[in-house]
């Protein structure tokens, strides 16, 4: 679940991190009015996705008339698949320096990590890729949080990494960053955030340290602890974490673990590793997977039906490959579930099913009688579905 910029900044303010004055506008008129009150403003699209600046979703407006025009333009945009229902009109900052500050999970260290770089701003991804030495990191004790001395060490390390920075005196950086980092870390823990990021953390021409932009992403697994936030942000914020693909957003609404890949072979399997291996098999046999869909353990008939239904929403799907490792599940039950799901949905596309489990032979016979192609092994199933799609494609 991603917070919009203005929602994220509201949280930053509550923990005492300085943010620019801003007003949310849902129409050009509201933006114009905001500019009348505030003077020169930056108009920023409120969408749950990065890269909006490069997409034209951020504009400077010096007068109310300019604010009206900029808001009208941005509100009619579509940014990476998202419409723009609102803009944030914010006091324009005189930027002297852009710093990157983030708190996220470091899976290799099995820890939270605080990331600080004096090479912040829009290009931070490139810095991370090409000059990672310009980024300083701190892995705090998760119970105690980052201590002041650790943050001073982090700051010195980050300064040294870029050969020093004269925008503010060193002593001020050492003093200013401690409360910001501590508050941001505390916020990340309170919100169960998988990412809390201020980029840029701006040093203004007058020497003020203030959050230019903010990104907060709540761990999907922790949403049960933040029901109020889920309600406040609505279903779209939740769906947004699956990316900007409309099929993925739809799958998220249905509670399915689905990734859209764009090929023609629809894939359903149980267990993420097994499904990934299924994608690989389809590719090895000359096909292209339409999606990743993991129905998880249990292989229940109702879930299989939902999964089939989801795949049929994708117009590129020309055939479906179901790969179930049954373990102790009964093969005849899986077969019956699949047959009734296919019949209820009126599915016409080729369907190849590979399953294992107890009574798998009975299951295979049921499938065959119902006109579904059974397979003993996953590679055999991959070969069959690619063949079947090839033949329907040419007819």
């Amino acid at each position: 679940m991603k917070l919009l910029e203005h929602q994220a900044k509201e949280r930053l303010r509550r923990v005492g991190i300085e943010c620019p004055t801003g007003l949310v506008a849902r129409s050009p008129q509201e933006a114009e009015k905001a500019a009348q009150e505030m003077g020169p403003v930056v108009i920023k699209a409120q969408v749950p996705i990065g890269g909006r600046g490069k997409a034209g979703g951020v504009k400077l407006a010096k007068t109310p008339a300019e604010a009206h025009a900029a808001a009208a333009a941005i509100l009619s945009m579509e940014i990476h698949g998202y419409s723009v229902p609102s803009v944030l009109c914010e006091e324009a900052l005189e930027i002297a320096k852009e710093i990157y500050l983030g708190v996220t999970v470091d899976r290799d260290r099995r820890s939270m990590v605080v990331i600080l770089s004096f090479a912040g701003g829009m290009e931070i991804e490139e810095v991370a890729e090409h000059s990672p030495e310009k980024i300083a990191k701190l892995w705090p004790d998760p119970f105690a949080g980052p201590q002041a001395f650790e943050i001073r060490e982090l700051t010195l390390q980050a300064l040294e990494a870029v050969g020093g920075d004269e925008t503010l005196p060193k002593a001020r950086y050492l003093a200013e960053l401690v409360p910001v980092v501590q508050s941001l870390f505390r916020l990340s823990q309170e919100l169960d955030a998988s990412l809390c990021e201020i980029n840029p953390l701006v040093v203004t021409a007058s020497g003020q340290v203030i959050a230019g932009d903010a990104k907060i992403e709540i761990d999907q697994n922790a949403e049960f602890r933040h029901r109020d936030l889920v309600r406040e942000l609505g279903p779209d914020a939740s769906a947004a974490t699956s990316g900007d693909d409309p099929l993925e957003v739809e799958a998220r609404r249905r509670g399915l673990t689905y990734v859209h890949l764009g090929g023609s072979v629809g894939i359903i399997g149980n267990g993420a590793g097994l499904v990934m291996n299924t994608l690989d098999l389809v590719k090895q046999h000359g096909g292209s997977a339409a999606n990743f869909l993991d129905i998880g353990g249990g292989a229940k008939a109702e879930v299989v039906k939902q999964a089939l239904e989801m795949l049929l929403l994708d117009p590129a799907v020309q055939g479906v490959f179901v790969n179930i490792f049954g373990g102790i599940t009964r093969g005849d039950e899986v077969a019956r579930g699949l047959i009734s799901a296919r019949d209820e949905l009126g599915m016409q596309l080729p369907l190849v099913v590979r399953m294992t489990g107890t009574r798998e032979e009975e299951g295979r016979q049921l499938l065959e009688a119902a006109g579904i192609t059974p397979a003993v092994s996953a590679p055999e199933a991959a070969r069959k579905i690619v063949e079947l799609i090839g033949s329907t494609g040419s007819s």
């Binding site: 999970v105 899976r107 290799d108 099995r110 820890s111 939270m112 991370a128 890729e129 004790d141 998760p142 119970f143 990340s188 823990q189 169960d192 955030a193 998988s194 761990d219 697994n221 922790a222 049960f224 602890r225 673990t257 990734v259 890949l261 399997g269 149980n270 267990g271 993420a272 590793g273 097994l274 499904v275 990934m276 291996n277 994608l279 690989d280 098999l281 389809v282 590719k283 090895q284 997977a289 990743f292 993991d294 353990g297 490792f325 373990g327 102790i328 294992t356 107890t358 996953a378 590679p379």
Partner: protein, 295 residues
């Protein structure tokens, strides 16, 4: 022998009275595992599946001498369960639960590390040592075969596929370990590979990794420094596009680390033969074990 779990292991199950816990505890008992206690707060003093139930892990350990814990409690309470077992002196905790908040796991991991507890998982199928008739977790009993191959993998069903394919070719397992698919895990590939090195029964290790993270790369480094046994590698998700998250929170490629190419290259550099398919895992195992035997 085996690694981590053997016939002497005394297992307690946290969340044993729940539906998942009940079902899999029965499976573990059927397999031959010494399940000595269940822990369900509020149900202490009762019996379930013929096993005594306790309110706390500490009581269960004091009464039964349990040294290993299986965690089947729901995600909101799972990190607490892991820490409870660690605090009570359990030496190996196997967390099957999936969907645990990642911050909970960061804290639990720090807590148990300070107490020297080993953790497998979370979001994992657990482990089984067929020759020892011992398992903790959800790996299906019927696919188990005692033998000489050590299997370490991230995920559940893919691990079962590999075990089954090896079994059909006549290769059983010393111990199979699923380390889990979450971003914050207990034991890593390297940890398990290191344990297999010292196990007499294990003559070959199958390491089945996945895209994302750099655990496979670090295991490759360890193997590259000199490893006493042949290792067969496998990386799942090789056709996945970069930046897409494939169900396992872990399976996301960022930058060049975590990409299938980087993992395969690291393993090959370490002298590990990497299979393209599960069938090839079997072929390479046959090749390497044949060679190992004749030498």
């Amino acid at each position: 022998m085996s690694i981590l779990l053997n016939r002497a292991s005394k297992v307690l199950v946290q969340g044993m009275t729940g539906s998942e816990g009940s079902f899999h505890t029965q499976q573990m008992l059927d397999f031959g595992t010494q399940v000595v206690a269940g822990v369900s707060p509020g149900k202490g003093g009762t019996k379930h599946l013929g096993v005594p139930v306790f309110d706390t892990v500490r009581e269960a350990v004091e009464a039964t001498g349990a040294d290993t814990a299986g965690v089947f409690v729901p995600p909101p309470f799972a990190a607490d369960a892991i820490m409870e077992s660690s605090a009570a002196g359990i030496s190996l905790v196997v967390a099957i639960t999936e969907l645990i908040p990642v911050n909970d796991m960061v804290r639990a991991r720090a807590f148990i590390s300070a107490r020297g507890t080993r953790l497998i998982g979370p979001n994992c199928p657990g482990l089984m040592s067929p020759g020892e008739r011992a398992k903790v977790g959800i790996i299906p009993n019927h696919i188990a075969n005692p033998g000489e191959v050590g299997v370490v993998s991230r995920s559940g069903t893919l691990t079962y596929e590999i075990i089954q394919a090896l079994a059909r070719a006549g290769y059983g397992q010393s111990t199979s370990v699923g380390i889990g698919g979450d971003p914050v895990l207990g034991l890593s590939f390297s940890d398990v590979v290191e344990l297999f090195a010292a196990d007499e029964e294990t003559t070959l290790v199958v390491l089945a990794g996945e895209i994302g993270g750099s655990d496979e790369e670090r295991a490759a480094e360890l193997i590259g420094r000199g490893y006493p046994k042949p290792v067969v590698g496998f990386i799942s998700g090789r056709s996945a596009p970069p930046g897409k998250r494939m169900g396992h929170a872990g399976a996301i490629i960022s930058g060049t680390t975590g990409s299938p190419a980087s993992k395969v290259a690291a393993l090959e550099k370490a002298g590990v033969k990497v299979a393209d398919t599960i069938e090839q895992i079997v072929e390479l195992t046959r090749e390497r074990l044949g060679a190992a035997r004749s030498s």
